[in-house]
């Protein structure tokens, strides 16, 4: 019983990590087709925003909200100055966002040093048999699914979501129907940035606060979004569930490094045999 709970916990924790890693990228890369190599730095901004404001005395939830807000502002400035000029130019977006990534991570190093004192993990832990479980990480599992459900309704069921998907599919046609395409792009990009910031804010109580912390998320984020397919909000849950279970299973029996290799092998197989990803598979099944 304890072993079963432990397995369920480990798998769910891995899935929620993949989901939360990917949510911001699902919007910026999955929807807007900007290959955002600075996704990890967006997460870092959210994390540092949370830590700095928490150290100033704000309660953790408020500090997390500030972390998200700072990342939205950061995303807004980047979109206005750089990103808006590279929509529809995916290769250029690789170079531009890679440059942003380097500048931001080095700036954090110069401003804050190699590390700053992090935050204590909120809530406590409980014991089952020989295993100890963090209550906060269980909360993160629920939060990750809640965020994804909210995103699904925002982008697939709301008027803004319809406009955003239409604008991204055919910007000139949208403009010909009176849609302010630039405004929709800016708002959508800021939502993606804010979600990445939220990931940083949520995970920073469980991590060491270093300028490169975003790098821990970048592989998980890209593999989840790529295997999710063209409709990330439909394909992300099955993609994360499959990859998370696969990685945890191998890690459980072998080692974390072998688990990561197994994850990447699974991704290669999915790309090979499911080129339209999990969302393509779901759409085909309908």
């Amino acid at each position: 019983m304890v072993l079963l709970f432990n397995i369920i916990f480990q798998v769910s924790d891995a899935i929620s990590f993949l989901l939360l890693s990917a949510i911001g990228l699902a919007v910026i890369f999955g929807m807007m087709r900007i290959i955002n190599l600075a996704h990890g730095e967006f997460i870092t901004v959210g994390a540092y925003g949370t830590v700095v404001t928490a150290k100033m005395g704000l309660p953790l939830p408020m500090a997390m909200a500030c972390g998200v807000l700072v990342t939205i502002i950061f995303g807004f400035i980047l979109e206005r100055l750089i990103i808006r000029y590279i929509y529809g130019r995916p290769l250029d977006s690789v170079v531009a966002t890679w440059g942003i990534s380097l500048i931001v991570s080095q700036s954090f190093l110069i401003i804050f040093g190699p590390s700053i004192e992090g935050l204590k993990s909120p809530l406590g832990s409980f014991q089952m048999g020989d295993y100890s479980f963090s209550e906060y990480r269980i909360l993160l599992i629920f939060i990750s699914f809640l965020i994804l459900v909210l995103l699904y309704f925002l982008f697939m069921k709301s008027r803004f979501g319809t406009l955003a998907r239409a604008t991204i599919e055919k910007p000139i046609t949208s403009s010909a129907l009176g849609v302010d395409v630039q405004k929709v792009y800016t708002i959508t990009f800021c939502i993606g940035a804010g979600l990445a910031g939220l990931t940083g804010a949520l995970y920073i109580p469980t991590m060491t606060c270093v300028p490169s912390l975003g790098q821990a998320f970048i592989v998980s984020a890209f593999v989840s979004v790529v295997t999710a397919g063209a409709s990330p909000f439909i394909g992300l849950v099955p993609a994360a569930a499959f990859l998370g279970s696969f990685q945890t299973g191998i890690t459980f029996f072998y080692h974390a490094t072998i688990g990561l290799i197994g994850l990447l092998f699974a991704v290669i197989m999915i790309i090979r045999f499911l080129p339209s990803g999990f969302s393509g598979l779901i759409k085909k099944g309908k």
């Binding site: 998907r165 239409a166 055919k170 046609t173 949208s174 010909a176 129907l177 009176g178």
Partner: protein, 233 residues
């Protein structure tokens, strides 16, 4: 005297050394169905793109309802009461017919629009993906998108491209119906059948300049038009 709804004033567009549109003056009166015709390379599509702001003119003005549109972007021009359909059907393939119409109508509840949608022969398909419609129905959906917000002027670029004879006839009936409801049309077209069916005025472009304009009957009888447009000797 008829009220002028669109006034193109001495507009010019060059690409490098090539003049695509040469000092064109064109007026569209309220209530008209005006066709712009001309042989290939006459400058019809360029003029269309200049009117909607997709291309920037070297000089000249586009005046709509007495307001100069030069400084406005495409979406801002649309908001002023213009509907627009490009040559190829530009529907959102991954969305349902209804979702397409919701975007164009700028509202979510289209329950009162069933009669309107039925006019375009797409009521039964309103809940299927636009990408699954036939080419003809995509063209009609596209015209519906251009006209659902009840604009004063609708610009159509070759609305019958790729349509059969019967589909072309129905397209003409749709446009005529919308015109009776008060919408003015400016249509770039090759097809002479629909022109004969619904045009109230015709402007002929040739080598980027306005060649002749008048009633459909007078233009179609004009021997010089036949020479340049049909290549007759």
């Amino acid at each position: 005297m008829s009220e002028v709804i669109l006034n193109i004033n001495k507009i010019k567009k060059t690409f490098g050394g090539f003049t695509a549109v040469k000092d064109v003056d064109l007026k569209v009166n309220k209530g008209e169905i005006r066709f712009i015709i001309g042989p290939n390379g006459a400058g019809k599509s360029t003029l269309f793109k200049l009117i909607i702001g997709y291309l920037k003119a070297d000089y000249g003005d586009v005046i709509f309802k007495e307001e100069n549109l030069n400084k406005f972007e495409l979406h801002q021009r649309i908001k002023k009461g213009i509907g627009l359909k490009f040559q190829a059907p530009s529907v959102f393939n991954e969305m349902t017919v209804l979702q397409n119409l919701e975007i164009a109508a700028n509202q979510t509840n289209l329950n009162d629009y069933n009669d309107f949608i039925d006019r375009f022969g797409i009521l039964e398909e309103k809940n299927i993906l636009a990408g699954d419609l036939s080419h003809g129905k995509k063209q009609w959906l596209d015209i519906a998108l251009a006209s659902i917000s009840n604009p004063d002027l609708v610009l159509l670029d070759e609305p019958t491209a790729g349509l059969s004879f019967d589909e072309t006839k129905k397209t003409g009936e749709i446009i005529k119906y919308l015109n009776k409801q008060g919408t003015t049309f400016l249509i770039v077209e090759h097809d002479m059948e629909i022109l004969k069916q619904i045009a109230t005025a015709v402007s002929v472009l040739h080598l980027g300049a306005l060649f002749v304009e008048g009633s459909p009957q007078s233009v179609l009888k004009n021997k010089d038009v036949a020479k340049i447009y049909l290549g007759a000797s």
